[in-house]
């Protein structure tokens, strides 16, 4: 099954506080009016130019076992390699904000309007990240409706370029998913165009499937640690449901 997703911009656009926090401005800070005005302008440009769209397609474990190794450059202990065999369902996904937003960001930098350019970049990046969560929600809803997953299961996305899954893994992922259908292409370095795009695998399963200790060979170099925050959110949601 391959399904295209149209997003509701209001549903995926980040809150002002989150965008400012992304730029190192804490929620409790007294933010100058001129910075708030820059955010408002960026949000308006984004709403005008963003064309968010996404898709996902089921893939079975055997097929993903062929996609995941990519061109043989993954870390030996890549997280996804340990996670996907335990999943009850898998799907590949991709989403994009469209070309116009990326072009607008570049134009702002060319005009030395750095503050607005960075703000728009932050809005676009955070929205792109959010689309993967929304696609995961759609996939989970489909699985539950079809009786293939329990409502209490969790669907999380994992992407090439992170956690030991080498970026060259994109090529096989694209061969299978064909995100050209929604306007995403790959360059020779396996990077996506438009820039504000995301891709990866959706892994469905119980909380245990997604829990791991961030002690892999590449973890000490990572300052991102979004995996840890994500696992903490999962645990919190489980406790909330208990």
């Amino acid at each position: 099954m391959k399904r295209k997703i149209q997003f509701d911009l209001e549903e995926i656009t980040p809150r002002r506080e989150a965008v400012l926090d992304h730029q190192g401005i804490p929620e409790d800070a007294e933010v100058p009016q001129r910075i708030l005005a820059i955010f408002e302008e960026a949000a308006t440009i984004f709403a005008d130019l963003a064309r968010p769209r996404g898709l996902f397609a089921d893939i079975n474990e055997v097929e993903f076992g062929e996609v995941f190794p990519g061109e043989g450059s993954n870390a030996a202990d890549a997280v996804v390699g340990n996670v996907f065999p335990k999943a009850n369902n898998l799907a590949l996904f991709a989403a994009t904000m469209g070309e116009e937003v990326s072009r607008a960001i570049a134009d702002l930098f060319d005009r030395n309007d750095f503050a607005l350019g960075v703000m728009l970049d932050a809005v676009a990046s955070m929205t792109a990240d959010r689309t993967s969560e929304v696609i995961a929600d759609h996939y989970h809803a489909d699985l539950v409706a079809e009786g293939r997953a329990a409502p209490a299961d969790h669907v999380l996305g994992y992407s090439p370029g992170y956690c030991g899954w080498h970026i060259t893994g994109q090529r096989k992922l694209f061969d299978y998913l064909t995100p050209a259908d929604i306007g995403i292409s790959l360059n020779d370095s396996c990077l996506m165009s438009p820039l504000k795009s995301v891709s990866g695998v959706l892994v469905s399963g119980g909380i245990d499937v997604h829990m791991f200790k961030a002690g892999y060979s590449y973890c000490p170099q990572c300052k991102n640690a979004s995996c840890v925050a994500r696992m903490e959110r999962l645990m919190a949601s489980e406790q909330g449901n208990a």
């Binding site: 750095f114 960075v118 030991g164 996506m192 820039l195």
Partner: protein
């Protein structure tokens, strides 16, 4: 008030129109362009850099000041010999091969330019050879490499290897930065410096440039 101080203060407020107007006035009054640059524009950015480092202002404040600085520099540039603004040194910057994320690299470039360095921005997805070839061709003393993805460290390593192969290590210094990069990684791969954010990168570049 002293005109150069006025330029510096307008720049600190991020008032690009005022900086342009005052810079033009300084030029018309016959002030030496290098003085306007050093004691007006760079002096103002220096204050901004320190305030940002000390968490007194936010990133957008810095970027508004950077735009104001560029407004002044655009007026000064034609007045320097062959249009080349005197600099503290030349830095070749780029996002490494295998990565298209360039916002961090752009911020570092803006801050370095504000501090008085000349920037050769190679953009994103830059092959290792291009970093070194450009640094040699441009006679740059520093290569700055940025990445966001966690799987692109080998591209940084390759740049450092090429410098060694060509006997340029020590002559051309390297600085690395980006979300998955740490001081430990920088040391492990043999980079000369590490910048954890744009303001810190300026301090680190000044350190390895010896200025």
């Amino acid at each position: 008030m002293d005109l150069l101080k006025e330029i510096s203060e307008a720049l600190q407020k991020g008032d690009d129109a005022k900086v342009g107007e005052l810079t033009k006035k300084a030029i018309d009054e016959g002030m030496v362009p290098k003085e306007i640059l050093d004691d007006g524009l760079i002096a103002g950015m220096d204050v901004i850099g320190k305030k940002f480092r000390d968490h007194e202002i936010f990133l957008p404040d810095v970027l508004l000041s950077a735009r104001a600085m560029y407004a002044g520099m655009d007026l000064l540039k034609p007045l320097f010999l062959q249009g080349e603004v005197p600099s503290l040194g030349k830095v070749v910057l780029g996002t490494v091969q295998g990565d298209l994320h360039d916002i961090g690299k752009n911020l570092v470039g803006i801050m370095l330019k504000g501090a008085g360095f000349e920037i050769v921005d190679l953009g994103k997805d830059v092959p290792p050879e291009v970093f070194v070839d450009t640094a040699e061709k441009e006679d740059a003393g520093i290569i700055g490499m940025s990445t966001l993805l966690t799987t692109t460290a080998p591209a940084m390593v390759r740049v450092i290897e090429i410098l060694k192969e060509r006997g340029l290590d020590g002559k051309i210094k390297t600085i690395v930065g980006g979300a998955p990069v740490s001081q430990n990684l920088a040391e492990e791969i043999g980079a000369d410096a590490y910048g954890y954010d744009a303001a810190n990168a300026v301090e680190s570049v000044k350190g390895i440039a010896g200025v």
